[in-house]
Symmetry: D2
Amino acid sequence: MRNITARLTVSAVAVLFLAALMAGSTFAGNNPIDEKWWPSEFGPDDRAGATNYITPESRIAAASLIKQGKVALLGMPYHLRTPLFPGRLLSITIPGGGGPTHNLAWSGESFRQTFMDELFTAQIGQVGTQFDALSHPMIRVEGREADGWKDGNYFYNRVRLEDVGTPYGIKDVGVENVGSFFTRGILIDMVALKGGNLAKGYVITLDDYKAALKAQGIDDAQQGNVVLIRTGWNDLWRGNLEKSQEQAIADNNEFNSGEPGVAPEVCDHLAERKISMIGMDNWGIEPYDFAKIPPSQITDWGHCHANLVTRRGIYIFENLDLKQVGEDKAYEVLFAWAPLKIVGATGSPGNPIAAY
Amino acid sequence: MRNITARLTVSAVAVLFLAALMAGSTFAGNNPIDEKWWPSEFGPDDRAGATNYITPESRIAAASLIKQGKVALLGMPYHLRTPLFPGRLLSITIPGGGGPTHNLAWSGESFRQTFMDELFTAQIGQVGTQFDALSHPMIRVEGREADGWKDGNYFYNRVRLEDVGTPYGIKDVGVENVGSFFTRGILIDMVALKGGNLAKGYVITLDDYKAALKAQGIDDAQQGNVVLIRTGWNDLWRGNLEKSQEQAIADNNEFNSGEPGVAPEVCDHLAERKISMIGMDNWGIEPYDFAKIPPSQITDWGHCHANLVTRRGIYIFENLDLKQVGEDKAYEVLFAWAPLKIVGATGSPGNPIAAY
Amino acid sequence: MRNITARLTVSAVAVLFLAALMAGSTFAGNNPIDEKWWPSEFGPDDRAGATNYITPESRIAAASLIKQGKVALLGMPYHLRTPLFPGRLLSITIPGGGGPTHNLAWSGESFRQTFMDELFTAQIGQVGTQFDALSHPMIRVEGREADGWKDGNYFYNRVRLEDVGTPYGIKDVGVENVGSFFTRGILIDMVALKGGNLAKGYVITLDDYKAALKAQGIDDAQQGNVVLIRTGWNDLWRGNLEKSQEQAIADNNEFNSGEPGVAPEVCDHLAERKISMIGMDNWGIEPYDFAKIPPSQITDWGHCHANLVTRRGIYIFENLDLKQVGEDKAYEVLFAWAPLKIVGATGSPGNPIAAY
Amino acid sequence: MRNITARLTVSAVAVLFLAALMAGSTFAGNNPIDEKWWPSEFGPDDRAGATNYITPESRIAAASLIKQGKVALLGMPYHLRTPLFPGRLLSITIPGGGGPTHNLAWSGESFRQTFMDELFTAQIGQVGTQFDALSHPMIRVEGREADGWKDGNYFYNRVRLEDVGTPYGIKDVGVENVGSFFTRGILIDMVALKGGNLAKGYVITLDDYKAALKAQGIDDAQQGNVVLIRTGWNDLWRGNLEKSQEQAIADNNEFNSGEPGVAPEVCDHLAERKISMIGMDNWGIEPYDFAKIPPSQITDWGHCHANLVTRRGIYIFENLDLKQVGEDKAYEVLFAWAPLKIVGATGSPGNPIAAY
């Protein structure tokens, strides 16, 4: 934790992100009116989404995947050099005022019991390793009242922000409703398949996905599974605390300047497989290179967020650490994790366990 | 999440806690000089503590405890009515300014993709369901330089706060060093044994502990196990968001005014069994009734915190939700959880999985 | 600062506030459509409001009011026992981690220079002594598109929240646009007039106002003046840090359960006098008693906030400390203060100077 | 406030600051033992420091300096592009969750009254325009017990951090004890004297100071005065919100990479003149260029902080905006300001008024 005295921030290129996105590309296939996505297959009142796919049987089967008795922790460390999306912050301080946070004294003794606290401030569900709850992404609808859509921002199952948003939490679809992921996890190791970390903007196609399955000798995702896709992109900020500050800033800027990611066809395939979650080791799962206009080879940029989370209740986990499972060739694991029940929050930090 | 507009705080009786503790009782058996507790059995440089007890074999064995394919989530919800120790805070707000937190626009379409964030501020490792890392409790030593102890506050393995504390994190013994708990968990259901929730100040004895094991028909804790002890005390703030604000305040005050807890002999027994963690459904595991002077029948108040965490590296998990595992008679479970890797933090929030 | 370890919060009765307000009273005279209030008299593009009334001449005249060379500070202390509106928080911690926040060392010397910081979190413009900027109160308009009003929340000069709100600040009408108050301040000492602190719910009428002017022997407010009205209500939380925690909680609850305040006719009179600001020693300037239904004798509850700030750009300063100016009979003073330029904030904390 | 979505941070060169300071220079003349500085001239129990120098007579005299009826505001704006010392943060968000922060409804009407809040988190006394209270700088003393100094960190009047520091505020010497500055302010406009902004590392000598007085035709500082010294250094981050993000980052880095500042002899002179405060438009009043080793031409780096604040109770105000007073040739002004009474804080933000 040497030299962690400065907060590192994202590159200016991220500003281009918004500018580019607003400049002119077409978001082709996802018109919320043209496609039926409500009610969800779990009913109009469902607020848990794709964790409903996980059954007692699949939990028992997942536990049987443990052969070596080994675990990998899939959370990256949270610290002052975590790369952040513009506008977000991550602060940790240790209240003391010159001594411990708390003192308890016992008389007649030469010692006391003392305690330390920490004060943490962050967009806790949206920094570093982050799980997107159903209360994070929305589809904004305007001018479709004739089709039965009031103007507004719509979460999963047509829950409207304007109806459930409060200054102190999102009602109804907050992360406290998610439940847990105790299920088979499969790793798609693109780093192994391609012989190295993927480049910025690289689009992982369905062919890539199937080639990885074949190379790894595992079956495709089953209902309720968690699909982990390793790109190597998080290596850019791995070990940030041990770097010079200049290097850490430069690496964070590069990290935020784009990412390799999955093609819409992969997300559609996974949706058909009825997985419970996709998890990746990049910041936003979709491919971008913000130095280019348009910033992606694919035109349907937000497809995965919109189609997986908002339309189907399938969750997304970003900035996972998939290095150890990759190096251990842990292609089938028990994935065990539940988000923090922060009432009304839009996501959760995490440190999931992969056991194998 | 109706009416969560006010922050609830602990009763004034907690102030008595400090006053009473400083007034005169003797902390009998825990003189840090008289007993040898350094280096730890894992060596002087160990920073992980009792997670070292958990082995590949014990992980495999733990996974085999899953029979029904059921999970219970052991985290309580975090919200503005969470009871807090004096001085601590828990805040969640939703940045918006009249609309979504983030907007992404696509031209040529009548809609946008939008996103919500939350801003969270708390003593994140020490509010609500909370895991105590080795960087939380210390033993203050003064005037023992002749015995080789510099004045100061000592963590596990004789790491001194004055050497590792920084304004932005505790070096060396921060929660990022803990690793994971993927191991057999046993439940000691005192509520079932006694036919109801324990009373404030009730001291759980070793006889109680053994009686529960017998009544439940399970073996005692083994090396690396997590021992969960249910008292029912957390029921006081269960459902706080659905109560009137007056009722929630009153219940939080009662919750903070004391608690049933474990006797020192139980902690010593568990230390001998080499468990990795004790977890309870109260705020501090040790028994208190702050309306009384002294506030406990036992004189050795901080025994469990000092002897388990600081001296042996055995972790403590507070404010767990043990109601469902109790009602399900899930006496042997796979306990699967890892703390957030918040570098330099003194603990972690959590929502552990018990699978059975 | 003894025993400031617990955060005090407002009484549950404040919840009644919202409930009662929504239950049925009529907000009679303030229909935003029926009365013309846009553009403001300073033009449609003005963003500074009533500080425009203050001229070089009036500043020079105000400075001439200083006779004794005495100053009174009109800010209440900010601390963990400040009464807060439900949902708001005020936190101060001292980052240290066992020692100073910062260390600078010089070699060859037996000492270092060290520094302390504090970390502060609050709705900074809306806790304790608080100045309401034009970006705080709005009038919500719905269903009046035919009259030229898009649905939305309107600030001063018809600036619409939906157009200027961002997650990181309110554009256009943020507190950074206010300028300064360096002008004649007059004190209306209702405590002196009535021989004691006003009771909860007391309505200060225009007759009261004029009687105070007469009793005090001062001229009515002139253009650009700051009008300070003392009720004594803030005495409830004066000295909170020296009280027992129970007493402080009880007093804060009483403070939040209502307040004496000004009648709409007083605000209308002051608007005609073209003052720049009204400042009071209560939390919201308007009279309430939340134990009663309706909570006020007057039916036009939010009249002053809507008519002064939103419609005319005349500012409001709440929770001032007017005790010393009252006791000093400082009825005419130089009021010197400018809000913090927190870009996009809705208000400002403050500690204004009254010189006389 | 366009594009303020990213938080800007200081350059890595600031890390060199600490490294260089610890590397070997001698802090020559300020041994706390060799020079008598306790009790202060206001007595051993004084906690207000040099505001004691300000008298009723000097206040009246200061008010007579107002000739034009003009005011300048000396605070810089606080925003997400404010340059920060490493480790500090400044965050503002607008709680909404899709709409206003608060809603009050009236029945029978087509509208509501609504309100916005902001949530602010910062080392509030030590970011941007910042006033250093007596609780900010300390002198660390070790190994001088024979001379009557217990080991520890000493504030003004020999108040020891270890005795008054708490996790929730600094007792005894917190900023709430300061009082107010309503006094003559003089401007030393080095920009006018030198024909442009001073260069990084420039040392303002006593000759410079006297030359400025002469060129401006004003008398030297008198007892209780505030001395404002303009360097132009703050121009580096002026207008940051209107710049590209890259430019703002680069300018903040340059701003933090050093600064022009005052020589020790100037501070000693001002101490002899018994001023109440020195205020400048740079981040730390003393001269540095962190690209050089040593980073200053003067060997006595922290002289002004130690000698003014800690030894004499003379305050320091950093990051003031002195451009307008410079351009208006407002060399003698009424300086009117009081810090926020944040109990236990180490400083205060501010927006002081200069009237002339």
